[in-house]
């Protein structure tokens, strides 16, 4: 087995047993990136020199017998996380050559625990998208191809498309992402890997370029549930620099993966069954429930009556917050500047040149729904619907420990599809959006393939701060699914 096929857990053990060096592990991944990134475009910036220097430091520690939870493990960092001394773009032109003078808390935590950073992963611009087609640095390609048509480049999902593609293609062992409407789980499903959105406030947002403050959730990607748990263990934790950060201790998530699901009550939300859903997804869903029953869980029907209103509510709240968060990109203190005849002209031209079409659409929608006369009708109403969505979850969780549902309404589609009407693209988040609005944790696990040979994920949604139950259920699904299919475009493939 090639070094790039290892799980984080296995690589860790091997490094500690001195079976190979951190440098060798990093070099293998850098070579993979070299070979495949031109095709996949998963990375915007590759930090090869830095990674090797970090690997050498890791090796020195390993030689001394010192190891932190992630010593020597090479990761991709979504380009939404500010990395000190390393260019950060948020997938946009408007940040220009911006090099952050600070490290985001989440990536700092990973560095603290010994991780190696291979580079900054490509993404939809400002995390707005479900296909990684809106990046100013070009689209990302899904390492998976349709069985009968390997010419069509498929989308990896979004907005964390680069992170998902990199992990899936074995260019990195794990990656960070952010999930605001589904941007970790949906690409995880499209790329056949595990992706988790923890509870809101579980991971700090300090140093993460803000899209929608009350909806942004930093979280991990990996190829196994246990690897995700290992990453989350490092990423999570209270941060006094983030006022919305939860002051709750971080439990041993990796250990939770081994917990039995016997006696657990699993809820099946009936409203997640939508018209026109791919048949294989419905069957896979049923299959997942059977696996859990076989493992001793009880499966129960539940209702989350306001589910279908989650996306429209999301497309009011998220753009509203984004319109305000993105006001700071004005050409004055950092990033792109287009000169203008006066200050107002400078702002207008800089922002027109720097923002892509999707970002501009959302800023305009957001500005509109907050504007005088519309605030109550749109924004307030959407936040009330959001309260009802949370209430739906809270009431369901009074009777069940977790919910199981599909992650996405389809498998990966081709680049260029779903681009005619913005709303078509938005509907990709129909199953993921509700958990973002409610702030409850959710994880996607690859569970099967569709008729085209493309991966389909199953989603587990849990109670606030009960990621441990999620890992237990997800691990049970993973064990039962025995998903061992591999993408066509991968390191060593």
């Amino acid at each position: 087995m090639s070094l790039t096929d290892l799980t984080i857990a296995a690589a860790r053990d091997a490094l500690r047993a001195h079976e190979f060096t951190a440098r060798e592990l990093t070099e293998a991944h850098l070579a993979a990136i070299d070979a495949l990134n031109p095709r996949l475009n998963a990375f915007i910036t590759v930090t090869g020199e830095r990674a090797l220097a970090q690997a050498d430091t890791a090796d020195a520690a390993l030689v001394r017998g010192e190891f932190a939870p992630l010593t020597g493990i090479p990761l991709a960092i979504k380009d939404l996380f500010c990395t000190e001394g390393v260019r950060t773009t948020a997938g946009s032109r408007i940040l220009g050559p911006f090099v952050p003078p600070y490290e985001s808390t989440v990536s700092a935590n990973l560095l603290r625990d010994g991780a190696i950073f291979l580079g900054k992963a490509n993404m939809d611009e400002f995390a707005m998208g479900s296909s990684n087609m809106t990046s100013a640095y070009g689209p990302v390609t899904n390492p998976w191809q349709r069985r009968q048509d390997t010419t069509a480049a498929l989308v990896p999902g979004g907005s964390s498309g680069g992170s998902a593609s990199a992990v899936s293609a074995r260019l990195a062992m794990g990656a960070t992402g952010t999930d605001t409407g589904g941007s970790i789980r949906q690409p995880a499903s499209f790329c056949g890997i595990v992706g988790m959105k923890p509870t809101y406030g579980r991971c700090s947002r300090w140093g993460v370029v803000a899209f929608a403050s009350s909806l942004d959730h930093p979280g991990p990607f990996a190829r196994t549930v246990q690897d995700c748990a290992i990453l989350l263990g490092s990423m999570a934790g209270h941060d006094p620099k983030d006022s919305t950060s939860a002051d709750i201790p971080v439990p041993d998530y990796a250990a939770a993966c081994a917990r039995s699901v016997k006696g657990m009550r699993i809820g099946v939300p009936r409203e997640y069954r939508v018209d026109g859903m791919q048949g294989e997804i419905e069957s896979l869903w049923q299959q997942g429930l059977t696996w859990l029953r076989d493992a001793g869980a009880e499966v129960v029907d539940v209702s989350l009556p306001h589910t279908k209103y989650a996306l429209p509510a999301y497309y009011i709240v998220a753009p509203a917050e984004a319109s305000s968060n993105l006001a700071r990109y004005d050409g004055v203190r950092f990033g792109l500047r287009e000169n203008g005849k006066d200050l107002r002209d400078l702002y207008e031209r800089t922002r027109a040149a720097g923002f892509g079409a999707e970002v501009r659409r959302r800023i305009l929608i957001g500005t509109y729904v907050l504007s005088a006369g519309y605030y109550d009708a749109y924004y307030i109403r959407a936040q009330k619907v959001r309260a009802l969505i949370l209430r739906d979850f809270t009431e369901a969780f009074a009777h069940v420990d977790a919910l199981v549902a599909p992650t996405a309404p389809s498998a990966a589609f081709a680049q260029g599809e779903n681009m005619d009407d913005p709303v078509q693209m938005y509907l990709n988040d129909v199953f993921t959006g509700p958990a973002d609005l409610a702030g409850v944790p959710a994880i996607s696990v690859p569970a099967g393939l569709d008729a085209n040979g493309l991966p389909l994920g199953l989603q587990v949604i849990g109670k606030p701060f009960d990621e441990e139950t999620l890992f237990a259920v997800a691990a049970a699904l993973e064990r039962a699914a025995e998903f061992d299919a591999l993408p066509q475009i991968r390191a060593g493939g």
């Binding site: 803000a210 983030d242 006022s243 305000s324 203190r333 500005t367 504007s371």
Partner: protein, 486 residues
């Protein structure tokens, strides 16, 4: 008679509301750990949060919350146990994030009131609508370059308390009295230094006019007036302008204006856009601010005695007039100084010395009571010397001047200059006899009825005694000598 603008169609009442922005005294900013000192080199007191860099987040400073609550308590206002921050969105060069974190719907302090005193001795209550916390903006310098403006963000993020009055003010004088009182309260509490010249206290003045009994008409806002004098001038200028507009048959348009103090007029601001659609929404990077009842009660119990209460106490315990008491309590330092002086002395005499001789000396020397060359204790000792007749009141003034100059204590000055009052009756008798003997003709005139000459004799005796005669004894002795039928 109440203030009015006399127009061609009659008398117009002026309706004024003041929005005061008061910089909070704290070491660090409202939502960041950068310093708040005035006058630092540009952009040296700026954190990445203040400069609105990507991914930066606000964390609230407890001291700023405390100061806002204490101010609310000092304004007799209702404290809201739960309040919330909102974003006020607009684009301007000195607003890095493109929004200001403020409080819109749920401010930390609600309704209160402030009592003001006018020159004629009357008092009025001016209502406070609310007080909220918000971030200050940075500073733009427009005069450093012909085609460019320079931005300094040192001030961006400093905590401000916005104190909004009800539109209860009816004259420039009332506005001045309100601002003075407000500043006094803030300084007593130590929550703001009230320094309008340095910009730590600024006023936006809302002015409208109407005929008596009418409902309110359209108002205009005159922004960022930075002295009390300019506020009173701006009110008059703007009110007159509005009266002219109405009387010419036009309608006053709601707009934001600036006061040009050199020309004594207000003019429309060009850069602030027409419709201010601030798109307020709750700040998603912060949670609701929840206060603890016990904590607020404790703050209340530890408030210093405020000007109104102190004034009432001075009037009651020291039997001072409202005017004298008012002058003494305007600044806490003055009030404290006075009380030290008054201890063990006649309160009225002490008041006269402080508000008269001391204030005059401080003015001449360009000093404040905080760095007074004469300490309260020293002044008290001077009063001792008068009270026990060591010196007369008149001599005391000479001693005081010397105290101001040298900083020496009064007793040493009296000794050094030999100013001790003479109460030795023998010496006085001798001086009196000497003067009467040398002025026999005038004695005869006096006895013949020219009573006015008594003052002449007093003067002569004092001159003979180098001013050191105890005036009462001199008077007595002279009188006896002059009525002796000899």
């Amino acid at each position: 008679m109440s203030y009015a603008i006399e127009g061609s169609t009659g008398a117009w009442e002026v309706v004024v509301g003041l929005e005061v922005h008061a910089q909070v005294i704290s070491k660090a900013k409202l939502f960041s750990g950068a310093a708040t000192d005035f006058g630092a080199p540009p952009n040296t007191q700026v954190s990445f949060v203040d400069a609105a860099f990507p991914g930066m987040l606000p964390v609230i400073n407890r001291e700023c919350v405390t100061q806002a609550v204490r101010t609310g308590l000092g304004l007799n206002a209702h404290i809201h146990m739960v309040s919330r921050f909102d974003r006020k969105n607009y684009f301007y060069a000195d607003l890095p994030a493109g929004y200001q974190i403020s409080q819109y719907q749920h401010p930390i302090v609600g309704e209160g009131k402030v009592e003001i005193e006018l020159a004629d001795g009357s008092t009025r209550d001016i209502g406070i609508t609310r007080l909220h916390l918000e971030q200050d903006a940075g500073k733009s310098l427009h005069d450093q370059h012909p085609t460019k403006s320079y931005i300094d963000l040192n001030r961006a993020g400093v905590a401000l308390m916005e104190i909004v009055s009800e539109p209860d003010i009816r004259s420039p004088e009332e506005a001045g009295a309100y601002l003075r009182k407000l500043r006094s309260i803030l300084r007593y509490l130590g929550t703001c230094d009230g320094n309008m010249e340095e910009g730590s206290m600024r006023a936006d003045v809302n002015v409208s006019v109407r005929k008596h009994g009418e409902p309110y008409r359209t108002r205009c806002e005159v922004k960022n007036v930075n002295s009390i004098r300019f506020v009173t001038q701006a009110i008059e200028a703007e009110a007159k302008r509005q009266v002219e507009v109405w009387e010419a048959g036009g309608a006053v348009e709601q707009e934001t204006r600036l006061f040009e103090h050199a020309r004594g007029i207000t003019r429309s601001m060009r850069s602030k856009e027409d419709a201010h659609d601030y798109r307020y929404f709750p700040e998603p990077d912060l949670l609701p601010l929840v206060l603890d009842e016990t904590w607020v009660a404790e703050l209340k119990s530890r408030l210093p005695e405020l000007p109104d209460a102190k004034k009432r106490r001075f009037m009651r315990d020291y039997r001072l007039t409202a005017y004298d008491a008012g002058v003494l309590v305007a600044e806490q330092a003055t009030a404290d100084y006075y009380e030290t002086v008054a201890k063990g002395h006649d309160a009225k005499i002490a008041a006269n010395w402080v508000t008269g001789d001391l204030f005059a000396a401080l003015n001449r020397a360009g000093r404040t009571i905080a760095d007074s060359p004469v300490s309260a204790t020293s002044l008290g000792k001077l009063l001792d010397l008068i009270a026990d007749s060591t010196i007369s009141g008149r001599i005391a003034k000479e001693v005081f001047e010397a105290m101001v100059e040298t900083g020496d204590d009064p007793a040493s000055i009296v000794a050094a200059k030999g100013l001790r009052q003479v109460t030795d009756t023998g010496a006085i008798d001798a001086a009196v006899s000497q003067v009467l003997a040398a002025n026999a003709d005038k004695v005869a005139e006096y006895k013949a009825g020219r009573d006015k000459l008594f003052g002449f004799f007093v003067g002569q005796v004092m001159k003979a005694m180098a001013g050191k005669g105890n005036p009462a004894l001199v008077n007595d002795t002279l009188r006896r000598a002059l009525t002796d039928t000899n």
